[in-house]
């Protein structure tokens, strides 16, 4: 009984916390893992900083749109579209 209590209560180390972050950011961590990670984050400034930096990386990627399309590329594809329609 004591062993079961200990297993439920033990915390996680930084390496485990970092590996749980992917599921955490996707909102798919099981409840127990989420609670353990959040308990660790509350006490570990390094992991909290790492998570904040990952969120910035995600936000930056969200703004990393490819360059605008040259009009010539659109014209070429429209020509393909017209050829296909004539087939």
């Amino acid at each position: 009984m004591v062993v079961i209590w200990w297993k439920k209560r033990r915390g996680i180390v930084c390496e485990q916390a970092v590996r749980l972050m992917a599921g955490y950011l996707d909102g798919v961590l099981p409840e127990a893992d989420r609670a353990r990670l959040e308990a660790h984050l509350a006490e570990c400034p390094h992991c909290s900083e790492h998570l904040a930096q990952l969120r910035i990386a995600i936000s930056a990627a969200g703004h990393a749109q490819p360059d605008d399309l040259p009009e010539k590329a659109i014209d070429d594809l429209v020509a393909v579209f017209r050829r296909w329609q004539r087939e």
Partner: protein, 194 residues
């Protein structure tokens, strides 16, 4: 215009609908294709084939996924067939955290704190530019997942399905890619923006 309206117009041979789709998706498709076939010219051919397949197959679109996911699925299948024909090898996928932790699982070197400095729009735009620059250097599989998830904003389950990988594998690849991007941002923060 929503997906169904666009597809209806495409089925009717509407060139305007085609151009609208091209403007919206061509740059992203091209970037993803290049990450799979490893060559810009071949990627352009793959994307052109994809558009033809989209036009020819518009009647088959049932709306079970978004139109965007459907188009990207066609692209990935075609690009992979092409890459297989050209026998392109995948680079080794390294663990993003190798050497980061000591034997107890604690940080071997604590992360340098910089997240609080990133709160202005100019830095965010500079970061986006940096992400575009470093994306091609990521291992192909990581690059593809990051492009679809974080740049194109497709849902996790759809990305796993269209790349034919498990949800867990998709998440591992994405996490590694994000960690690489984070490392590049950290280097940048230690340089010109510090």
């Amino acid at each position: 215009m929503d997906d169904h309206q666009l597809v209806e117009r495409l089925r009717g041979g509407d060139e305007g609908a085609f151009v609208s789709l091209v403007r919206q998706h061509q740059p992203g498709l091209l970037r993803l294709a290049e990450s799979i076939v490893g060559n810009r010219a071949v990627a352009e051919e793959v994307v052109q084939d994809t558009w033809l397949a989209v036009c020819k197959g518009a009647d088959a679109f049932e709306g079970r996924s978004s139109l965007k996911t459907w188009i990207y699925t066609i692209l990935v299948n075609r690009a992979r067939s092409t890459a297989t024909r050209e026998r392109r090898s995948e680079p080794v996928d390294n663990d993003a955290y190798h050497g980061c932790f000591d034997s107890s699982g604690a940080w071997a070197t604590a992360p340098v704190p910089w997240s609080e400095k990133v709160d202005d729009e100019i830095v965010a735009r500079q970061f986006a530019k940096l992400v575009s620059q470093v994306l091609p250097d990521l291992p192909d599989a990581q690059q593809q997942v990051l492009l679809l998830r974080d740049v194109e904003g497709l849902p996790a389950a759809e990305v796993a399905t269209l790349l034919s990988i498990s949800d867990g594998n998709q998440r591992v690849l994405l996490h590694r890619a994000r960690c690489s991007i984070r490392r590049h941002l950290e280097n940048a923060m230690g340089g010109e923006w510090s």
